[in-house]
């Protein structure tokens, strides 16, 4: 396992673009954290994130995992570009000739994804913990360490997304097309949802569009961590002023985790099957 991880990291480390993207990703996490502690003054309006309660435990776990998971596209580009390169440089072929099996090839990519997911999750945990301790109004241990399932959801979300990228890059081979397909798939899921919303309830009334839509891979990933903004007290206050109380379930559902893990497994296994079948 270490050997396969070393092989992949060796490939990434000496590639300037990949290295820059990964550094950029980690740097952005830090800068997001630092910026949000600053007081922003736009003319007469003074805005201080910390006072909006975003650093309060346990809300911070929800907020930070959501915001930082938006940056996952950085590493997604690395995965897609690195696999695209393996095809265009024909180094995949050379790797196999040199004695790497097709299974090992997929595993070395998967281990790298895992390593990246674990380090991202650790980083999010540490940053949130530090920001929380500095700015949170509640610092009881029981409150600090509640709602940690957002970190699990974060890790699963990243892993699922990167597995999808791995699958697409093995399927499509050209990195630009793989990323394009990813965008296309997002739109495709949206259209499917729209169609189901429009037609499904007419034909099968006992099924709602959401019930089916939650099984779509990208939607399942986004379901893992729901948007945290409407949960902020500032927003809740506004909503209450307008009369209709705002009730939404923000928790991490076990079903979403299972769905995404199932997709991840399917994507990695699928990538292996495609690679095994192909002549290079």
């Amino acid at each position: 396992m270490i050997r396969l991880l070393v092989i992949e990291l060796h490939k990434i480390w000496y590639n300037r673009i990949s290295k820059t993207l990964i550094f950029g990703y980690f740097l952005l996490i830090f800068s997001v954290a630092i910026f949000s502690t600053l007081k922003v003054e736009i003319g007469p309006i003074e805005f201080y994130f910390a006072e909006q309660g975003i650093f309060d435990f346990p809300y911070i776990w929800h907020f930070n995992t959501f915001i930082i998971s938006l940056l996952k596209i950085f590493f997604a580009v690395v995965i897609v570009a690195m696999i695209g390169n393996e095809y265009s440089y024909r180094t995949l072929k050379q790797n196999l000739i040199d004695g790497l099996s097709k299974k090992e090839f997929i595993l070395s990519k998967t281990y790298t994804i895992l390593a990246f997911v674990v380090s991202s999750t650790l980083l999010v945990f540490l940053i949130s913990l530090i920001l929380g301790i500095l700015y949170s109004d509640y610092t009881e241990l029981s409150i600090i360490f509640s709602d940690l399932e957002y970190l699990i959801a974060f890790a699963v979300k990243l892993f699922g997304f990167f597995s999808f990228c791995l699958f697409l890059s093995i399927l499509i081979k050209k990195s630009a097309f793989s990323l394009g397909f990813l965008g296309f798939w997002q739109v495709f899921e949206g259209i499917c949802y729209g169609l189901m919303k429009w037609k499904l309830s007419d034909s099968i009334p006992q099924l709602s569009a959401e019930q089916i839509f939650q099984f779509f891979p990208l939607n399942a990933m986004s379901n893992l961590i729901k948007e945290p903004f409407t949960r902020l007290s500032a927003f809740q206050n506004i909503a209450q002023e307008f009369g209709d109380g705002f009730n939404k379930d923000y928790s991490v559902s076990l079903l979403s985790i299972i769905i995404v893990l199932f997709w991840s497994f399917l994507f990695i296994w699928g990538a292996y099957v495609i690679l095994k079948k192909n002549d290079l």
Binding site: N15, R90, G99, L100, E104, D279
Partner: protein
Amino acid sequence: MGEILLKIENISKYYGSIKAVDKLSITIKKGNIYGLLGPNGSGKSTTLGMILNVVNPSEGSFEWFEGKLNNHQALKKIGAIIERPNFYPYMTAIQNLKLICQIKKCSYDSITEKLELVRLWDRRNSSFSSYSLGMKQRLAIAAALVNNPEILILDEPTNGLDPEGIEQIRKLIKLTASKGTTIILASHLLDEIEKTCNKVIVLKNGKKFYEGPTDQITQTHGYFEIGATDLKKLKLFLESIPQIQQLKWNDPFYHVSLNEALSEDKLSQLLVNETIFITHFVKKQPSLEQEYLTLIQ
């Protein structure tokens, strides 16, 4: 009888209805240098692709080292260059070789030695993308040798190189062969095969067409080139000699191939008896190239 390194049994590869390789069986024994010949599209590269695990055979099987190792374990003990050098362009020579050592599970110890052998040590820290084609091909040889392989597989190693580059690669192959490494060399350069290989396998339309020692393929009774002032008389006379297999007008003389031994002095004696005055008289042994061309026709 040397130890068997590779045994291919009835292997086939179909691309749709096209049979690229058709029930091919080959046995590779230790200590030999095999020349793999065949016209373009005869299935050489596909065959090598299959034994190197990048092309899935449609039928048949092969085993390395008498089945003691599975395929990708075996490939770690093999050095192979296929068609053109494939490396990570953004890595230097050293970084590329270290990666290969990681894959092959061999130590970094021989990297220096192999880079010196192919005379790339001075450029070890330049990125692969800055290399000329000749340097890339030499790095490929260094990479193939970095694990001190038991068997070296080369597919058109001198493709696209200038004469100097070809000479350098040829020297490297000979040097490797002299150390007792088994080599399979697929090439179009027949004089190269003739000089370096002791066994020849000829493929045609995905089938094995000929297999045997290199010298046997050229070991025929030879042929004469004869010209004379009176060509009609010469032709009539030559047609009457039983040892002559074929008579071909090859301006300005006859190309006379033999099916039985016929010495120069014997034939000239006969010509004198017939009072035929010759203008050109040579006996030759065919080159591998000529024999190969007759074979595949």
